[in-house]
Symmetry: C2
Subunit: 245 residues, 2 copies
DNA sequence: GCCGATTTGTCCGTATGTATC
DNA sequence: CGATACATACGGACAAATCGG
Protein backbone atom coordinates (compact mmCIF):
# COMPACT_ATOMS: atom_id res chain seq x y z
CA UNK A 1 0.00 0.00 0.00
CA UNK A 2 2.23 2.80 -1.20
CA UNK A 3 1.47 6.19 0.20
CA UNK A 4 3.78 8.24 -1.95
CA UNK A 5 2.28 11.40 -3.19
CA UNK A 6 3.15 10.84 -6.83
CA UNK A 7 1.47 7.43 -6.77
CA UNK A 8 -1.70 8.91 -5.32
CA UNK A 9 -1.82 11.56 -8.01
CA UNK A 10 -1.09 8.96 -10.68
CA UNK A 11 -4.01 6.84 -9.50
CA UNK A 12 -6.37 9.76 -9.13
CA UNK A 13 -5.72 10.91 -12.67
CA UNK A 14 -5.86 7.38 -14.05
CA UNK A 15 -9.21 6.79 -12.39
CA UNK A 16 -10.58 9.99 -13.85
CA UNK A 17 -9.36 9.10 -17.32
CA UNK A 18 -10.84 5.61 -17.15
CA UNK A 19 -14.10 7.08 -15.89
CA UNK A 20 -14.20 9.30 -18.97
CA UNK A 21 -13.69 12.61 -17.17
CA UNK A 22 -11.60 13.89 -20.06
CA UNK A 23 -12.78 13.26 -23.62
CA UNK A 24 -10.24 11.44 -25.77
CA UNK A 25 -8.03 13.89 -27.62
CA UNK A 26 -8.69 16.64 -25.08
CA UNK A 27 -6.21 18.20 -22.69
CA UNK A 28 -5.96 17.43 -19.01
CA UNK A 29 -5.60 20.28 -16.51
CA UNK A 30 -2.24 22.00 -16.77
CA UNK A 31 0.59 21.25 -14.39
CA UNK A 32 -0.03 24.45 -12.46
CA UNK A 33 -3.67 23.53 -12.01
CA UNK A 34 -2.75 20.10 -10.72
CA UNK A 35 -0.14 21.58 -8.40
CA UNK A 36 -2.86 23.73 -6.86
CA UNK A 37 -5.33 20.88 -6.64
CA UNK A 38 -2.99 18.32 -5.06
CA UNK A 39 -0.98 20.87 -3.11
CA UNK A 40 2.41 19.58 -4.15
CA UNK A 41 5.49 20.55 -6.08
CA UNK A 42 5.84 20.58 -9.83
CA UNK A 43 8.22 17.62 -9.82
CA UNK A 44 5.66 15.48 -8.07
CA UNK A 45 2.95 16.24 -10.61
CA UNK A 46 5.38 15.65 -13.44
CA UNK A 47 6.33 12.29 -12.03
CA UNK A 48 2.70 11.20 -11.87
CA UNK A 49 2.11 12.33 -15.45
CA UNK A 50 5.26 10.54 -16.60
CA UNK A 51 3.72 7.31 -15.32
CA UNK A 52 0.56 7.94 -17.34
CA UNK A 53 2.65 8.53 -20.46
CA UNK A 54 4.58 5.31 -19.88
CA UNK A 55 1.34 3.36 -19.56
CA UNK A 56 -0.24 4.83 -22.66
CA UNK A 57 -2.93 6.93 -21.01
CA UNK A 58 -1.75 10.36 -22.08
CA UNK A 59 0.68 12.13 -24.34
CA UNK A 60 2.46 15.39 -23.58
CA UNK A 61 3.70 18.09 -25.91
CA UNK A 62 5.78 21.08 -24.98
CA UNK A 63 3.88 24.33 -25.19
CA UNK A 64 0.59 22.55 -25.56
CA UNK A 65 -0.36 20.30 -22.70
CA UNK A 66 -1.19 16.79 -21.58
CA UNK A 67 -3.55 15.01 -23.94
CA UNK A 68 -5.79 12.05 -23.14
CA UNK A 69 -5.31 9.12 -25.54
CA UNK A 70 -7.08 6.46 -23.51
CA UNK A 71 -9.52 4.25 -25.36
CA UNK A 72 -11.08 1.32 -23.54
CA UNK A 73 -9.96 -1.99 -25.00
CA UNK A 74 -11.98 -5.13 -25.36
CA UNK A 75 -11.38 -7.51 -22.44
CA UNK A 76 -8.96 -10.24 -23.39
CA UNK A 77 -8.62 -13.79 -22.29
CA UNK A 78 -5.06 -13.45 -21.15
CA UNK A 79 -3.40 -10.07 -21.00
CA UNK A 80 0.16 -9.47 -20.07
CA UNK A 81 2.60 -6.60 -20.11
CA UNK A 82 3.28 -6.52 -16.42
CA UNK A 83 5.00 -8.85 -14.02
CA UNK A 84 1.95 -10.74 -12.98
CA UNK A 85 1.63 -14.30 -11.85
CA UNK A 86 -0.66 -16.71 -13.60
CA UNK A 87 -2.96 -16.79 -10.59
CA UNK A 88 -3.20 -13.00 -10.48
CA UNK A 89 -4.00 -12.86 -14.16
CA UNK A 90 -6.72 -15.47 -14.08
CA UNK A 91 -8.27 -13.85 -11.03
CA UNK A 92 -8.37 -10.53 -12.85
CA UNK A 93 -9.93 -12.02 -15.96
CA UNK A 94 -12.41 -14.01 -13.89
CA UNK A 95 -11.44 -17.39 -15.24
CA UNK A 96 -11.05 -20.46 -13.12
CA UNK A 97 -7.45 -21.56 -13.01
CA UNK A 98 -5.53 -24.51 -11.67
CA UNK A 99 -1.92 -25.56 -11.64
CA UNK A 100 -0.53 -29.10 -11.85
CA UNK A 101 3.09 -30.05 -11.26
CA UNK A 102 4.09 -32.67 -13.81
CA UNK A 103 7.82 -32.60 -13.26
CA UNK A 104 10.03 -31.73 -10.30
CA UNK A 105 13.74 -32.45 -10.30
CA UNK A 106 17.21 -31.14 -9.74
CA UNK A 107 19.56 -30.54 -12.63
CA UNK A 108 22.76 -28.78 -13.56
CA UNK A 109 23.00 -26.18 -16.27
CA UNK A 110 24.72 -27.54 -19.37
CA UNK A 111 26.08 -25.64 -22.37
CA UNK A 112 22.83 -25.27 -24.20
CA UNK A 113 20.66 -24.33 -21.23
CA UNK A 114 23.33 -21.90 -20.05
CA UNK A 115 23.26 -20.10 -23.37
CA UNK A 116 19.48 -19.83 -23.40
CA UNK A 117 18.97 -19.03 -19.74
CA UNK A 118 21.98 -16.94 -18.80
CA UNK A 119 22.92 -19.21 -15.89
CA UNK A 120 26.59 -20.13 -15.65
CA UNK A 121 27.43 -23.67 -16.77
CA UNK A 122 27.29 -25.96 -13.75
CA UNK A 123 24.72 -23.97 -11.77
CA UNK A 124 22.49 -26.25 -9.72
CA UNK A 125 18.84 -25.76 -10.58
CA UNK A 126 15.39 -26.90 -9.69
CA UNK A 127 13.61 -27.88 -12.87
CA UNK A 128 9.85 -27.72 -12.55
CA UNK A 129 7.30 -28.49 -15.22
CA UNK A 130 3.79 -27.30 -14.67
CA UNK A 131 0.53 -27.24 -16.54
CA UNK A 132 -1.88 -24.37 -16.13
CA UNK A 133 -5.52 -25.08 -16.77
CA UNK A 134 -7.92 -22.34 -17.69
CA UNK A 135 -11.55 -23.20 -17.06
CA UNK A 136 -10.53 -26.84 -16.97
CA UNK A 137 -8.59 -26.93 -20.24
CA UNK A 138 -4.76 -27.29 -20.26
CA UNK A 139 -3.48 -24.11 -21.88
CA UNK A 140 0.04 -23.32 -20.71
CA UNK A 141 3.04 -25.60 -20.39
CA UNK A 142 5.58 -24.05 -18.08
CA UNK A 143 9.26 -24.90 -17.69
CA UNK A 144 10.77 -23.22 -14.64
CA UNK A 145 14.43 -23.27 -13.69
CA UNK A 146 15.27 -21.85 -10.27
CA UNK A 147 18.72 -21.47 -8.75
CA UNK A 148 18.80 -24.02 -6.00
CA UNK A 149 20.72 -21.79 -3.59
CA UNK A 150 18.00 -19.13 -3.84
CA UNK A 151 15.17 -21.51 -3.00
CA UNK A 152 15.59 -23.07 0.44
CA UNK A 153 13.00 -25.70 1.11
CA UNK A 154 11.21 -25.63 -2.20
CA UNK A 155 8.95 -28.63 -2.60
CA UNK A 156 6.54 -29.93 -5.20
CA UNK A 157 3.69 -29.00 -2.88
CA UNK A 158 4.79 -25.38 -2.85
CA UNK A 159 5.28 -25.42 -6.62
CA UNK A 160 1.65 -26.48 -7.01
CA UNK A 161 0.64 -23.10 -5.62
CA UNK A 162 2.11 -19.73 -6.41
CA UNK A 163 5.88 -19.81 -6.34
CA UNK A 164 5.99 -16.04 -6.47
CA UNK A 165 3.80 -15.72 -3.43
CA UNK A 166 6.05 -18.17 -1.60
CA UNK A 167 9.12 -16.16 -2.53
CA UNK A 168 7.72 -12.77 -1.71
CA UNK A 169 5.72 -13.49 1.39
CA UNK A 170 7.61 -16.33 3.01
CA UNK A 171 11.14 -15.77 1.83
CA UNK A 172 10.99 -11.99 1.78
CA UNK A 173 12.51 -11.98 -1.66
CA UNK A 174 11.44 -9.15 -3.90
CA UNK A 175 11.38 -9.62 -7.62
CA UNK A 176 12.50 -6.58 -9.48
CA UNK A 177 13.36 -7.03 -13.12
CA UNK A 178 12.20 -9.51 -15.70
CA UNK A 179 13.66 -9.65 -19.20
CA UNK A 180 11.26 -11.30 -21.59
CA UNK A 181 11.28 -12.55 -25.13
CA UNK A 182 8.30 -13.62 -27.18
CA UNK A 183 8.70 -16.04 -30.06
CA UNK A 184 6.52 -18.49 -31.93
CA UNK A 185 7.70 -22.08 -32.11
CA UNK A 186 6.63 -25.35 -33.66
CA UNK A 187 4.81 -27.61 -31.23
CA UNK A 188 6.81 -30.58 -29.99
CA UNK A 189 5.59 -34.07 -29.16
CA UNK A 190 5.76 -33.10 -25.52
CA UNK A 191 3.62 -30.01 -26.10
CA UNK A 192 0.96 -32.15 -27.78
CA UNK A 193 1.09 -34.61 -24.93
CA UNK A 194 0.17 -32.01 -22.34
CA UNK A 195 -1.77 -29.34 -24.16
CA UNK A 196 -4.88 -29.43 -26.29
CA UNK A 197 -3.62 -27.63 -29.34
CA UNK A 198 -6.40 -28.47 -31.75
CA UNK A 199 -5.42 -27.50 -35.27
CA UNK A 200 -2.55 -25.26 -34.25
CA UNK A 201 0.91 -26.64 -34.93
CA UNK A 202 2.78 -23.93 -33.05
CA UNK A 203 2.76 -22.12 -29.72
CA UNK A 204 3.41 -18.68 -28.35
CA UNK A 205 6.55 -18.95 -26.27
CA UNK A 206 7.39 -16.43 -23.57
CA UNK A 207 10.89 -16.82 -22.18
CA UNK A 208 11.92 -14.75 -19.23
CA UNK A 209 14.90 -14.18 -17.01
CA UNK A 210 14.05 -12.89 -13.57
CA UNK A 211 16.40 -11.08 -11.21
CA UNK A 212 15.93 -10.72 -7.48
CA UNK A 213 16.75 -7.61 -5.50
CA UNK A 214 20.37 -8.70 -5.06
CA UNK A 215 20.76 -8.40 -8.79
CA UNK A 216 21.29 -12.09 -9.36
CA UNK A 217 19.50 -14.10 -12.00
CA UNK A 218 17.54 -16.64 -10.03
CA UNK A 219 14.93 -17.86 -12.47
CA UNK A 220 14.63 -18.76 -16.10
CA UNK A 221 11.21 -19.68 -17.39
CA UNK A 222 9.83 -20.78 -20.67
CA UNK A 223 6.05 -20.56 -20.93
CA UNK A 224 4.52 -22.34 -23.88
CA UNK A 225 1.01 -21.02 -24.57
CA UNK A 226 -1.90 -22.33 -26.55
CA UNK A 227 -2.04 -19.64 -29.26
CA UNK A 228 -5.74 -18.90 -28.97
CA UNK A 229 -5.48 -17.46 -25.48
CA UNK A 230 -2.18 -15.68 -25.81
CA UNK A 231 -2.20 -11.92 -25.87
CA UNK A 232 0.57 -9.52 -24.96
CA UNK A 233 0.01 -5.81 -24.69
CA UNK A 234 2.62 -3.16 -24.75
CA UNK A 235 3.07 0.56 -25.11
CA UNK A 236 6.02 2.20 -26.81
CA UNK A 237 7.05 5.81 -26.44
CA UNK A 238 9.77 7.72 -28.21
CA UNK A 239 12.29 9.02 -25.70
CA UNK A 240 15.46 11.09 -26.14
CA UNK A 241 17.50 8.09 -25.11
CA UNK A 242 16.15 6.25 -28.10
CA UNK A 243 14.47 3.40 -26.30
CA UNK A 244 10.93 2.88 -25.25
CA UNK A 245 9.45 3.79 -21.90
CA UNK B 1 21.16 14.60 -31.85
CA UNK B 2 19.93 15.27 -28.33
CA UNK B 3 22.34 17.18 -26.18
CA UNK B 4 20.54 16.87 -22.89
CA UNK B 5 22.80 16.14 -20.02
CA UNK B 6 20.83 13.18 -18.76
CA UNK B 7 20.95 11.56 -22.17
CA UNK B 8 24.71 11.97 -22.34
CA UNK B 9 25.15 10.37 -18.94
CA UNK B 10 22.73 7.59 -19.88
CA UNK B 11 24.75 6.80 -22.99
CA UNK B 12 28.09 7.04 -21.25
CA UNK B 13 27.02 4.57 -18.59
CA UNK B 14 25.35 2.29 -21.10
CA UNK B 15 28.49 2.19 -23.23
CA UNK B 16 30.59 1.32 -20.20
CA UNK B 17 28.22 -1.45 -19.19
CA UNK B 18 28.14 -2.92 -22.68
CA UNK B 19 31.94 -2.72 -22.82
CA UNK B 20 32.07 -4.78 -19.64
CA UNK B 21 33.45 -2.03 -17.41
CA UNK B 22 31.35 -3.33 -14.51
CA UNK B 23 31.17 -7.07 -13.87
CA UNK B 24 27.64 -8.44 -13.87
CA UNK B 25 26.18 -8.43 -10.38
CA UNK B 26 28.55 -5.69 -9.23
CA UNK B 27 27.67 -2.16 -8.21
CA UNK B 28 28.15 0.89 -10.35
CA UNK B 29 29.65 4.04 -8.83
CA UNK B 30 27.33 5.70 -6.34
CA UNK B 31 25.19 8.67 -7.24
CA UNK B 32 27.53 11.04 -5.45
CA UNK B 33 30.48 9.70 -7.40
CA UNK B 34 28.63 10.17 -10.67
CA UNK B 35 27.58 13.67 -9.65
CA UNK B 36 31.23 14.55 -9.18
CA UNK B 37 32.32 12.88 -12.40
CA UNK B 38 29.68 14.43 -14.65
CA UNK B 39 29.51 17.69 -12.74
CA UNK B 40 25.76 17.78 -12.51
CA UNK B 41 22.90 17.63 -10.05
CA UNK B 42 21.55 14.60 -8.34
CA UNK B 43 18.30 14.70 -10.26
CA UNK B 44 20.16 14.48 -13.55
CA UNK B 45 22.13 11.42 -12.51
CA UNK B 46 19.00 9.79 -11.20
CA UNK B 47 17.21 10.43 -14.45
CA UNK B 48 19.98 8.75 -16.41
CA UNK B 49 19.98 5.75 -14.08
CA UNK B 50 16.19 5.50 -14.30
CA UNK B 51 16.60 5.04 -18.04
CA UNK B 52 19.06 2.21 -17.51
CA UNK B 53 16.62 0.52 -15.12
CA UNK B 54 13.80 0.85 -17.63
CA UNK B 55 15.92 -0.76 -20.34
CA UNK B 56 17.07 -3.65 -18.19
CA UNK B 57 20.72 -2.68 -17.79
CA UNK B 58 20.78 -2.12 -14.06
CA UNK B 59 18.75 -2.53 -10.89
CA UNK B 60 18.71 -0.22 -7.92
CA UNK B 61 18.10 -0.94 -4.28
CA UNK B 62 17.77 1.58 -1.52
CA UNK B 63 20.66 1.56 0.89
CA UNK B 64 22.72 -0.65 -1.38
CA UNK B 65 23.43 0.77 -4.80
CA UNK B 66 23.02 0.43 -8.54
CA UNK B 67 23.71 -3.10 -9.73
CA UNK B 68 24.71 -4.17 -13.23
CA UNK B 69 22.44 -6.92 -14.64
CA UNK B 70 23.47 -6.65 -18.27
CA UNK B 71 24.23 -9.88 -20.06
CA UNK B 72 24.93 -9.77 -23.78
CA UNK B 73 22.22 -11.52 -25.73
CA UNK B 74 22.62 -13.57 -28.85
CA UNK B 75 21.93 -11.47 -31.92
CA UNK B 76 18.42 -12.11 -33.17
CA UNK B 77 16.99 -12.14 -36.62
CA UNK B 78 14.35 -9.54 -35.88
CA UNK B 79 14.40 -7.72 -32.61
CA UNK B 80 11.76 -5.29 -31.51
CA UNK B 81 10.73 -3.49 -28.38
CA UNK B 82 11.10 0.01 -29.70
CA UNK B 83 9.29 2.06 -32.30
CA UNK B 84 11.49 1.18 -35.20
CA UNK B 85 10.66 0.99 -38.85
CA UNK B 86 11.20 -2.16 -40.81
CA UNK B 87 14.00 -0.51 -42.77
CA UNK B 88 15.76 0.60 -39.60
CA UNK B 89 15.55 -2.88 -38.16
CA UNK B 90 16.89 -4.66 -41.18
CA UNK B 91 19.74 -2.18 -41.46
CA UNK B 92 20.67 -2.86 -37.86
CA UNK B 93 20.58 -6.62 -38.30
CA UNK B 94 22.49 -6.38 -41.56
CA UNK B 95 19.90 -8.20 -43.64
CA UNK B 96 18.91 -7.12 -47.07
CA UNK B 97 15.34 -5.90 -47.09
CA UNK B 98 12.83 -4.81 -49.68
CA UNK B 99 9.25 -3.64 -49.59
CA UNK B 100 6.56 -4.28 -52.18
CA UNK B 101 3.19 -2.59 -52.28
CA UNK B 102 0.55 -5.17 -53.19
CA UNK B 103 -2.53 -3.15 -52.36
CA UNK B 104 -3.32 0.56 -52.26
CA UNK B 105 -6.84 1.84 -51.88
CA UNK B 106 -9.20 4.13 -50.04
CA UNK B 107 -11.79 2.76 -47.67
CA UNK B 108 -14.13 3.76 -44.91
CA UNK B 109 -14.01 2.28 -41.44
CA UNK B 110 -16.89 -0.11 -40.86
CA UNK B 111 -18.15 -1.61 -37.60
CA UNK B 112 -15.66 -4.40 -37.38
CA UNK B 113 -12.59 -2.43 -38.38
CA UNK B 114 -13.60 0.39 -36.05
CA UNK B 115 -13.73 -2.00 -33.12
CA UNK B 116 -10.33 -3.48 -33.90
CA UNK B 117 -8.56 -0.28 -34.86
CA UNK B 118 -10.09 2.36 -32.64
CA UNK B 119 -11.04 4.60 -35.57
CA UNK B 120 -14.55 6.03 -35.48
CA UNK B 121 -17.01 4.38 -37.87
CA UNK B 122 -17.00 6.25 -41.14
CA UNK B 123 -13.41 7.52 -40.95
CA UNK B 124 -11.82 7.72 -44.40
CA UNK B 125 -8.68 5.65 -44.58
CA UNK B 126 -5.89 4.68 -46.87
CA UNK B 127 -5.58 0.92 -46.88
CA UNK B 128 -2.15 -0.28 -47.90
CA UNK B 129 -0.97 -3.84 -48.14
CA UNK B 130 2.75 -4.45 -48.29
CA UNK B 131 5.11 -7.38 -48.33
CA UNK B 132 8.50 -7.15 -46.66
CA UNK B 133 11.21 -9.41 -48.01
CA UNK B 134 14.18 -10.37 -45.92
CA UNK B 135 17.15 -11.56 -47.92
CA UNK B 136 14.82 -12.14 -50.82
CA UNK B 137 12.19 -14.19 -48.97
CA UNK B 138 8.72 -12.76 -48.24
CA UNK B 139 8.43 -12.70 -44.45
CA UNK B 140 6.00 -10.03 -43.31
CA UNK B 141 2.54 -9.21 -44.60
CA UNK B 142 1.59 -5.74 -43.55
CA UNK B 143 -1.87 -4.14 -43.45
CA UNK B 144 -1.71 -0.40 -42.84
CA UNK B 145 -4.67 1.88 -42.31
CA UNK B 146 -3.91 5.61 -42.28
CA UNK B 147 -6.33 8.43 -41.66
CA UNK B 148 -6.70 10.11 -45.01
CA UNK B 149 -6.82 13.62 -43.57
CA UNK B 150 -3.45 13.10 -41.90
CA UNK B 151 -1.72 11.98 -45.10
CA UNK B 152 -1.81 14.67 -47.78
CA UNK B 153 -0.41 13.43 -51.05
CA UNK B 154 0.29 9.86 -50.07
CA UNK B 155 0.94 7.71 -53.13
CA UNK B 156 1.82 4.11 -53.80
CA UNK B 157 5.31 5.24 -54.73
CA UNK B 158 5.83 6.78 -51.31
CA UNK B 159 4.38 3.72 -49.64
CA UNK B 160 7.01 1.58 -51.36
CA UNK B 161 9.63 3.38 -49.31
CA UNK B 162 9.50 4.28 -45.66
CA UNK B 163 6.19 5.84 -44.72
CA UNK B 164 7.58 6.88 -41.39
CA UNK B 165 10.46 8.74 -42.99
CA UNK B 166 7.96 10.49 -45.24
CA UNK B 167 5.84 11.51 -42.29
CA UNK B 168 8.65 12.66 -40.08
CA UNK B 169 10.95 14.35 -42.56
CA UNK B 170 8.57 15.67 -45.18
CA UNK B 171 5.40 16.22 -43.23
CA UNK B 172 7.06 17.25 -39.98
CA UNK B 173 4.80 14.89 -38.09
CA UNK B 174 6.28 13.35 -34.99
CA UNK B 175 5.14 9.95 -33.85
CA UNK B 176 4.90 9.66 -30.12
CA UNK B 177 2.99 6.74 -28.74
CA UNK B 178 2.29 3.31 -30.14
CA UNK B 179 0.02 0.81 -28.40
CA UNK B 180 0.83 -2.72 -29.47
CA UNK B 181 -0.68 -6.15 -29.07
CA UNK B 182 0.93 -9.45 -29.94
CA UNK B 183 -1.17 -12.48 -30.73
CA UNK B 184 -0.77 -15.71 -32.67
CA UNK B 185 -3.30 -16.44 -35.38
CA UNK B 186 -4.10 -19.16 -37.85
CA UNK B 187 -2.77 -18.46 -41.32
CA UNK B 188 -5.38 -17.45 -43.87
CA UNK B 189 -5.51 -18.23 -47.56
CA UNK B 190 -4.24 -14.73 -48.21
CA UNK B 191 -1.29 -15.22 -45.89
CA UNK B 192 -0.30 -18.36 -47.75
CA UNK B 193 -0.64 -16.56 -51.04
CA UNK B 194 1.94 -13.94 -50.12
CA UNK B 195 4.22 -15.52 -47.56
CA UNK B 196 6.31 -18.66 -47.59
CA UNK B 197 5.10 -20.26 -44.42
CA UNK B 198 6.55 -23.73 -44.89
CA UNK B 199 5.13 -26.08 -42.29
CA UNK B 200 3.80 -23.38 -40.00
CA UNK B 201 0.04 -22.98 -39.98
CA UNK B 202 0.02 -19.79 -37.92
CA UNK B 203 1.65 -16.39 -37.76
CA UNK B 204 2.85 -13.93 -35.18
CA UNK B 205 0.57 -10.94 -35.42
CA UNK B 206 1.58 -7.53 -34.14
CA UNK B 207 -1.25 -5.03 -34.12
CA UNK B 208 -0.52 -1.43 -33.29
CA UNK B 209 -2.30 1.86 -32.90
CA UNK B 210 -0.10 4.89 -33.47
CA UNK B 211 -0.80 8.41 -32.24
CA UNK B 212 0.76 11.55 -33.64
CA UNK B 213 1.84 14.52 -31.57
CA UNK B 214 -1.64 16.04 -31.69
CA UNK B 215 -2.85 13.04 -29.76
CA UNK B 216 -4.98 11.70 -32.57
CA UNK B 217 -4.94 8.09 -33.69
CA UNK B 218 -3.73 8.27 -37.26
CA UNK B 219 -2.60 4.72 -37.99
CA UNK B 220 -3.67 1.20 -37.34
CA UNK B 221 -1.40 -1.56 -38.52
CA UNK B 222 -1.52 -5.31 -38.48
CA UNK B 223 1.81 -6.99 -39.20
CA UNK B 224 1.63 -10.69 -39.92
CA UNK B 225 5.02 -12.32 -39.44
CA UNK B 226 6.51 -15.60 -40.54
CA UNK B 227 6.98 -17.21 -37.11
CA UNK B 228 10.59 -18.25 -37.61
CA UNK B 229 11.89 -14.70 -37.73
CA UNK B 230 9.63 -13.14 -35.15
CA UNK B 231 11.15 -12.09 -31.88
CA UNK B 232 9.94 -9.48 -29.44
CA UNK B 233 12.01 -8.38 -26.49
CA UNK B 234 10.77 -6.60 -23.45
CA UNK B 235 11.77 -5.63 -19.96
CA UNK B 236 9.40 -5.44 -17.03
CA UNK B 237 10.07 -3.63 -13.77
CA UNK B 238 7.98 -3.47 -10.63
CA UNK B 239 7.04 0.11 -9.86
CA UNK B 240 5.06 1.65 -7.03
CA UNK B 241 2.30 2.48 -9.46
CA UNK B 242 1.88 -1.21 -10.10
CA UNK B 243 2.61 -1.22 -13.78
CA UNK B 244 5.74 -1.91 -15.67
CA UNK B 245 8.33 0.68 -16.68
C1' DG C 1 5.41 38.53 -38.63
C1' DC C 2 6.07 39.90 -33.83
C1' DC C 3 5.06 39.89 -28.96
C1' DG C 4 3.56 38.05 -24.72
C1' DA C 5 1.11 34.64 -21.95
C1' DT C 6 0.83 29.84 -21.17
C1' DT C 7 2.65 25.22 -20.96
C1' DT C 8 5.88 21.64 -20.86
C1' DG C 9 11.15 20.34 -20.82
C1' DT C 10 15.59 20.60 -18.53
C1' DC C 11 18.55 21.49 -14.73
C1' DC C 12 19.95 23.03 -10.41
C1' DG C 13 20.09 22.98 -5.11
C1' DT C 14 18.39 21.40 -0.67
C1' DA C 15 16.09 18.77 2.94
C1' DT C 16 14.34 14.64 4.86
C1' DG C 17 13.08 9.69 4.99
C1' DT C 18 14.42 4.88 4.82
C1' DA C 19 17.17 0.82 3.93
C1' DT C 20 21.73 -1.33 4.17
C1' DC C 21 25.93 -2.46 6.14
C1' DC D 1 24.93 3.23 16.44
C1' DG D 2 26.81 5.92 12.55
C1' DA D 3 28.02 6.24 7.73
C1' DT D 4 26.49 5.47 3.22
C1' DA D 5 23.25 4.61 -0.19
C1' DC D 6 19.02 5.40 -2.78
C1' DA D 7 13.86 7.38 -2.50
C1' DT D 8 10.82 11.13 -2.00
C1' DA D 9 9.59 15.87 -2.01
C1' DC D 10 10.16 20.72 -2.11
C1' DG D 11 11.49 25.10 -4.45
C1' DG D 12 13.40 28.01 -8.11
C1' DA D 13 15.40 29.30 -12.67
C1' DC D 14 15.61 29.29 -17.52
C1' DA D 15 14.75 27.24 -22.20
C1' DA D 16 11.72 25.84 -25.87
C1' DA D 17 7.35 25.23 -28.04
C1' DT D 18 2.58 26.75 -28.73
C1' DC D 19 -1.08 29.84 -29.44
C1' DG D 20 -3.74 34.03 -29.58
C1' DG D 21 -3.94 38.84 -30.38
Amino acid sequence: MPRQKYTEIYRALKDRIEAGAYPVGQLLPSENTLIAEFDCSRNTVRRAVAGLVRDGYVQTRQGWGVCNIFQPIEPSAYTMGTIESFAETSRRTGQHSATRVVGFSLCTAGEELARRSGFAVGTELFYIQRIHDLDGVPRIFNHNYFRRDCMPGLTARIAAGSIYRYLEEEQGMSIVTSKRTITVERATEEDRKWLELGEYNCLAVLSSQTYNSDGILFEYTQSRHYPGIFRFQDNAVRTPEGRRA
